[in-house]
Symmetry: none
Subunit: 131 residues, 4 copies
DNA sequence: GTGGTCTAGACCACA
DNA sequence: GTGGTCTAGACCACG
């Protein structure tokens, strides 16, 4: 599992970590049931604070992407248990996307172009092996 | 100019204010050349500190959405001077959207559905000059 | 006398006005002894406040570039009376130029290039008719 | 890092601070990658408010001279990432220098003399690695 | 302990 | 009256 952090970024490290793990799941590089490194080992691997990894894991657990077993350690949830498209999620999505769309409109980036960007991201992230 | 803020939100007030103003421009409720309320009056209108408004204005000025005119006060930039779709902007956009798409993939929200959400936001915000 | 002001600029209008008049003198478009418009007419010509023009004139007078006669109005000083290169002026110059040179060094603009820019400005402003 | 401020000057403190830091970089007293004191410690060291220091740092960050690193704090950018000579910078430079040259012409300070002043500043600021 | 945010009150330059 | 600057004190997120 490759984690790339930008320590200069204004995005908190724990958020970047969450994003990377979620993208890992989305892309298939992290499979359901697969186990993640322990808080300690991941922290030392990428050279950040224990608390930071812990915070990311805790939030991912809260959102339902991972489970923490006393014995098996940290694992990605099974496909059936993966978080769904809830009302709450859709609301958050709209709230996130609204300012993005507004700025696009101001700058003259039209709906087709934005859709195209979204499409490229889907293809970019999505698992490519179709078998 | 209606401004709606959520003082409890984790999103900084000055960011919400920027978003609202940008959406105002995108929607046509704020027209190019139109003048915005003074820092002081807007602050007292919406019940926040003038420095918070000032920060929002300053950032909007830096991004090129508004100008501070010595006589007319704060004005929305002319259409020709509106910020463009720069490389830098596209990079920022991709960076913002990437985690959104990743989470969508995990939750099983497919590309068509996300595109549909974008489309609705475009229609929602866009100026509705129907007459 | 053409005056070009940028009302959006962060540079105060009275300063821009002073700069323009000094450049006018430097370029020969305003000759020693020539009279400048009255505060009132200049203000209405360029559409700014009386006080602003007044401030510019007052400061120019203090610096010795113009004289205000009760009868002749405002005139550019004679060549012999033009402000000289004083110690005080050199100190001000160094103080102004120091940060400019420092930033140039940081950005990798070398001495020759900066000198070239200065040279171009001299040629640009200087009176061109040599007869 | 020595900082000398003139609290009586008409030049804003945050500007003086920016200038001093840029000169520090230009002179080599501040090396790329080196970390700057925290907002709080610098503020208390030089006896000004932390918000004033913060403003200077924020602007320097925006201009690309420093970065805020999540672990190392505030650092001078690496040499490769140092701001370049952009069109925008050259425009700003011309705008800054134009009135200076105009006044020089009026006062009879010729191009050679001004060039000489620039040269002295370059030598004065430039890193003196003689050993 | 760090930077980021917000509030509050004050002074000044500008127009 | 406007924006710009500075000070001061407080809370929070982050690491």
């Amino acid at each position: 599992m490759m984690i790339e952090l930008d320590l200069q970024s204004e995005i908190p490290i724990y958020t970047q970590l969450m994003d990377q793990i979620i993208e890992g799941i989305a892309s298939g590089r992290l499979e359901p049931g697969e186990s993640l490194p322990s808080v300690r080992s991941l922290a030392s691997d990428i050279g950040i604070n224990l608390h930071t990894v812990n915070k990311a894991y805790t939030l991912l657990k809260q959102e339902g992407f991972i489970q923490v077993h006393r014995k098996k350690g940290v694992i990605v949830v099974q496909k059936e248990e993966m978080p769904q498209v809830t009302e709450h999620y859709l609301a958050k999505l709209g709230q996130q996307l609204r300012p993005v769309v507004a700025e696009s409109l101001c700058r003259g980036l039209n709906q087709e172009q934005l859709t195209e960007i979204i499409a490229r991201l889907y293809n970019d992230i999505q698992p490519q092996d179709k078998e």
